[in-house]
């Protein structure tokens, strides 16, 4: 176990390593200034030191991570040509199947479940030589906006430990914000990458639907789910997106369109860029401090040569209700497979005192009901019931079918808006990170945290969120850009140019510095 001794001797070096951005680490790894083992060890130690506080990771694979890192170092020593991400640690949201680590979706239902295959994105990460540190915490089955819906405990926001990191990719966002990982993978169904990125002061991209394969992504809402990169900066998101994007014949909805080089345009200035501004984004409910920082971001863009144009998204107001019909409807079907019969949690037969489920047709039905009653948390159950209801005969037309029609209108709104502007800017969330427990008793208030983000998913387009300032109480404020289908190069460039002009993304939290 020589590596532990050397790790301890060099701890100081490693602690500073975790302060460095993914881009700096990649550079140092390529130049041979640091080894992948050193880099990985630094992050593993940082996780060990902070995870009991943050709870960003559900699984940490020290052994596997170091084995991969050693292999990368050996390849580099042998003079092999390695990709830009080789040896870089990455945290993966526990919604993606990994055959060497449990994949639980933060649910009791999948406690200890080990998939027999790797998700397409995980395969691509391994092929790129990244070091998978472990699996990050999340809202159960990606349902939630605060990461309080995890069966394995909530995640704390590294900027204020009494506040939520957002969700559902709260673990991935907190891991990057707390320097536990330089890069992370999240998934975004209604804002689950962008909202926690905004609340944790990092950068997160939700790619166009179909740009990244969903194979091995445990489905919440199949027509909305999309995997994306989370990092400190847009440039690092570009590095990670480059590795995970691409056509997968194993996902019928994956786009068979070549992946561009996401670095080509990054440094192009923004002169002449048309940024849309939606007036209704700034109406009642938007926190004044958030509004102020978002307006300042627009000013920064104008100073950089971009022009701001008012655009309308007339159906945006129906986004949240539409989303909360379509997503639960699909979820009610996607989650039917967790029946206790084949894998996952099964009721052990002990009579329980639960009320309301007493009338069973058969022992089989009792097993189904009790396994699901025990295995799923309250938010998951709520959405299964919502979705089952909206798909039921007699209600289908009024709810699910109508939601599909509104979804088309929302998509048309964006298409029309993008005839006049290149991207649309605005807030990610109406407020900065909220207090833990603040919204847990009010599902509707919790659903409204998705107000600015769900449209992107309903329209199937791309969106990116990045920090644009801090409140007086030192909480990050996020700015969101939305772009037309496959506009990832433009979104990354627009965010990167902002980050060239500002340093909000470089700020580190002091909450964990002890």
């Amino acid at each position: 176990m020589g590596r532990w001794c050397s790790a301890r001797n060099q701890r100081k070096v490693f602690m500073t390593l975790t302060n460095r951005s993914a881009a700096e680490l990649a550079n140092a790894l390529q130049k041979g200034e640091i080894s992948a083992v050193e880099c990985t060890t630094a992050f593993l130690d940082r996780i060990e030191a902070t995870n009991s506080t943050i709870n960003a990771f559900l699984t940490v694979d020290r052994e596997g991570a170091l084995t991969t890192a050693e292999a990368v170092d050996a390849s580099r020593a042998a003079g092999k040509q390695l990709g830009p991400l080789a040896g870089l640690p990455v945290a993966v949201k526990d919604v993606l199947c990994t055959m060497d680590q449990p994949t639980t979706c933060a649910s009791k239902m999948l406690k200890g479940y080990q998939p027999p295959y790797d998700a397409d994105v995980v395969q691509r990460l391994r092929a790129a030589g990244t070091v998978i540190l472990g699996k990050t915490n999340m809202d159960e089955f990606a349902m939630g906006g605060s990461n309080e819906n995890s069966a394995y405990g909530l995640v704390r926001n590294p900027w204020d430990l009494e506040r939520a990191p957002g969700g559902s990719s709260g673990g991935s966002a907190a891991a990057v914000a707390a320097d536990m990982a330089p890069l992370a993978i999240g998934s975004d169904t209604g804002g689950s990458i962008r909202q926690p990125a905004g609340l944790c002061g990092i950068t997160g991209l939700k790619p166009t639907y179909g740009r990244v394969s969903r194979r091995g992504l445990i489905a919440f809402s199949s027509s909305l789910d999309q995997i994306g990169p989370m990092a400190r900066s847009a440039k690092e998101c570009a590095m990670l997106l480059q590795a995970i994007a691409g056509h997968d014949p194993g996902d019928s909805t994956s786009l068979n369109i070549p992946v561009p080089d996401y670095f080509t345009d990054l440094e192009k200035p923004l002169q002449g860029l048309r940024i849309g501004r939606v007036a209704t984004h700034f109406s009642e409910g938007l926190d004044p401090e958030v509004a102020e920082h978002v307006e300042q971001a627009f000013a920064t863009y104008e100073a950089a040569g971009a022009t701001i144009h008012e655009v309308e998204l007339p159906h945006a107001t129906y986004g949240v209700p539409t989303y909360y019909l379509i997503a639960p409807s699909e979820a009610s079907s996607n989650l039917a497979r967790y029946d206790g019969a084949h894998y996952g949690h099964r009721w052990d037969g002990t009579p329980s005192g639960e009320k309301g489920i007493t009338d069973f047709d058969s022992p089989l039905v009792e097993m189904y009901c009790r396994s699901r009653a025990e295995g799923f948390g309250p938010e998951v159950k709520r959405r299964i019931m919502l979705g089952t209801y909206s798909l039921s005969s007699g209600y289908y037309d009024a709810y699910y079918a109508k939601a599909l029609r509104v979804r088309r209108l929302i998509r048309q709104d964006f298409s029309k808006a993008f005839e006049n502007v290149d991207v649309i800017g605005g807030p990610v969330s109406a407020t900065p990170a909220f207090k833990l427990g603040e919204k847990t008793d009010d599902p509707v208030a919790m659903y409204l945290v998705d107000l600015y983000t769900v449209g992107t998913n309903l329209a199937g387009i791309g969106g990116i969120s990045f920090p644009c300032g801090f409140t007086k109480s030192s909480l990050p404020v996020g700015f969101q850009l939305q772009g037309p289908p496959l506009s990832e190069p433009l979104l990354l460039r627009t965010a990167h140019q902002y980050q060239q002009a500002t340093d909000w993304h470089l700020k580190r939290t002091a909450a964990l510095s002890s």
């Binding site: 993606l96 199947c97 994949t103 979706c105 999948l110 479940y113 998939p115 027999p116 295959y117 998700a119 969903r214 194979r215 091995g216 992504l217 445990i218 489905a219 809402s221 199949s222 027509s223 014949p249 194993g250 996902d251 019928s252 909805t253 409807s329 699909e330 009610s332 079907s333 989650l335 039917a336 497979r337 029946d339 019969a341 084949h342 894998y343 089989l364 039905v365 189904y368 089952t388 798909l391 039921s392 005969s393 289908y396 699910y400």
Partner: protein, 495 residues
């Protein structure tokens, strides 16, 4: 006799057929579809419904189902989509079946059935729709008291399944069976399915009720019953006969009409020969169909349809006529041959080509080959005697080496011993009788039978028949026709 002439009511039957498509791999994954392998050995994350797995459509399965729909004269939708049918059952690992709900890939077809013996009038059965879906797994229930146990085999899960729904156009159990036979024949000819009911590749449910004319001219309709668990076409026929009688009895006893109760499902009990009511729920099941978001819609072009149509081959109904015309055989002969399936037709055509005479080849097929197959319970593909051998026997008969009945004995012996025609002929001591020997034999017979000679001489040529039996006793290898012809010739030549 059919039910319609016997009873004061009309039996109304519609069928729902599930047919497994004959593909190498499953509908939405790459697993093989072979029947009979050890349980749960032909599975992958997709057909196991594991978290994160996704379906990808097997285009070959889709094209095969297009072929079936075209042969059933269906209209083809140029745009079709997949839907999820949601229900819980242990042999359905995803908790939903990928199927087609409101936009099936084909609709409004028809398939005609007629009975060559005229037991019922030709009937055109309209097909409501044909759609494609994935099969479920198999549940095996151990009913042993105290240790009851259920096991699930997911090898079948995801096998492509075509569902064919007919309009209620059939009017008797007999018609239903005949129509199913015609459907099966068609699907086998198309190479779309092997239609093996024992292996579950063809499953049939039937909907039946009675239309009873009333004195006031109104037609009373009995409640529709869906019959399940029928394991053969014979069972379908028996179950429908039973159910018709049962409904007639119930109608007479209760007068209950359609709409007075929810649709009933009854299971066929093969050994008891009865249908039994299955427990039905108060509310009908709600499958909460919605578009499958993991798959993209399927589009079909007119060119693709034309291509599939051109590669389709002749359906049985057309082949019957073609065969009758090509080989100048009676329609009934062609019907019997075609109904045995494409392998037998190929055998016949091979034989007919060798023999050069369709009718002779057909006679041998009907009287010898088919009879032997039935006796041996064999299919033509397993039959050891190939067309060359049968053609050889027929050629020897035609050449006059021996007569047809002798040829039949040789055929039977070839079947039984599994040896060549030449060996059997040699073994039986059959050798062609030399012309000189034949003349000597005939002269000998003429000398021995003055009465026959006188009769023939007097114009009664049929009297020569009396010589044939005697000739065969003297030499079993003589050709009766030749004996007859030569004897008459010699007698007429007598002074």
């Amino acid at each position: 006799m059919s039910a319609e002439t016997q009873h004061p009511f009309t039996t109304v039957i519609g069928l729902e057929v599930h047919m497994q498509l004959h593909t190498q791999t499953k509908l939405f994954c790459g697993c093989i579809t072979t029947f009979g392998n050890p349980p749960n050995t032909q599975v992958c994350p997709t057909c196991l419904g594991l978290p994160g797995s996704l379906p990808v459509m097997n285009r070959r399965a889709f094209d095969l189902s297009l072929r079936a729909a075209l042969a059933l004269n269906c209209k083809i939708a140029l745009f079709t989509k997949w839907d999820r049918k949601n229900y819980f059952y242990p042999d359905l690992p995803k908790g939903y079946q990928i199927s087609q709900f409101d936009l099936p890939f084909s609709y409004e077809g028809h398939l005609e059935v007629c009975d060559p013996k005229g037991a019922f009038n030709p009937r055109t059965v309209r097909i409501t729709r044909v759609h494609l879906e994935e099969d479920a797994g198999k549940s095996m229930h151990d009913e042993t008291a105290g240790t009851a146990d259920s096991r699930i085999d997911l090898n079948r899960t995801g096998t492509p399944l075509c569902e064919i729904v007919t309009e209620p156009d059939l009017r008797s159990a007999e018609e239903a069976r005949a129509w199913l036979n015609e459907l099966k024949l068609l699907l086998v000819y198309l190479g779309v399915s092997d239609c093996n009911m024992q292996e579950g590749s063809l499953r049939v449910d039937a909907n039946v009720n009675l239309h009873v004319p009333q004195k006031d001219g109104r037609i009373a309709k009995t409640p529709i019953v869906e019959i399940k668990n029928m394991n053969s076409f014979r069972s379908v026929e028996r179950a429908l006969i039973y159910e018709t009688e049962r409904q007639w009895g119930e109608w007479q006893a209760t007068g209950a009409e359609i709409g007075s109760m929810p649709k009933q499902t009854r299971g066929w009990d093969e050994s008891a020969g009865v249908t039994r009511g299955q427990r039905h729920k108060e509310e009908s099941s709600d499958y909460r169909y919605f578009p499958e978001p993991d798959l993209v819609p399927v589009t079909v072009t007119e060119e693709q349809i034309a291509e599939i149509r051109s590669a389709m081959g002749e359906p049985p109904a057309v082949l019957r006529k073609t065969l009758a015309d090509r080989w100048k055989i009676p329609a009934n002969d062609a019907g019997v041959l075609v109904n045995q399936g494409p392998d037998l037709v190929q055998y016949f055509e091979d034989l007919a080509t060798r023999v050069g005479e369709g009718k002779v080849a057909s006679n041998w097929m009907q009287q010898d080959v088919l009879r032997t197959l039935n006796e041996r319970g064999e299919s033509i593909t397993d039959f050891p005697v190939r067309p060359e051998a049968v053609a050889d026997i027929i050629a020897r008969v035609q050449k006059g080496d021996f007569d047809t009945s002798r040829g039949r004995e040789i055929f039977a012996s070839v079947v039984e011993k599994g040896t060549s025609v030449a060996e059997v002929v040699a073994g039986m001591g059959i050798a062609a009788v030399d012309d000189g020997d034949l003349r000597a034999l005939c002269e000998e017979l003429i000398a021995e039978n003055p009465k026959i000679v006188a009769d023939v001489k007097g114009g009664k040529e049929q009297a020569a028949g009396g010589l044939i039996g005697q000739a065969k006793r003297k030499n079993p290898n003589v050709n009766p026709g030749k004996v007859r012809a030569l004897a008459i010739e010699l007698i007429q030549a007598l002074p």
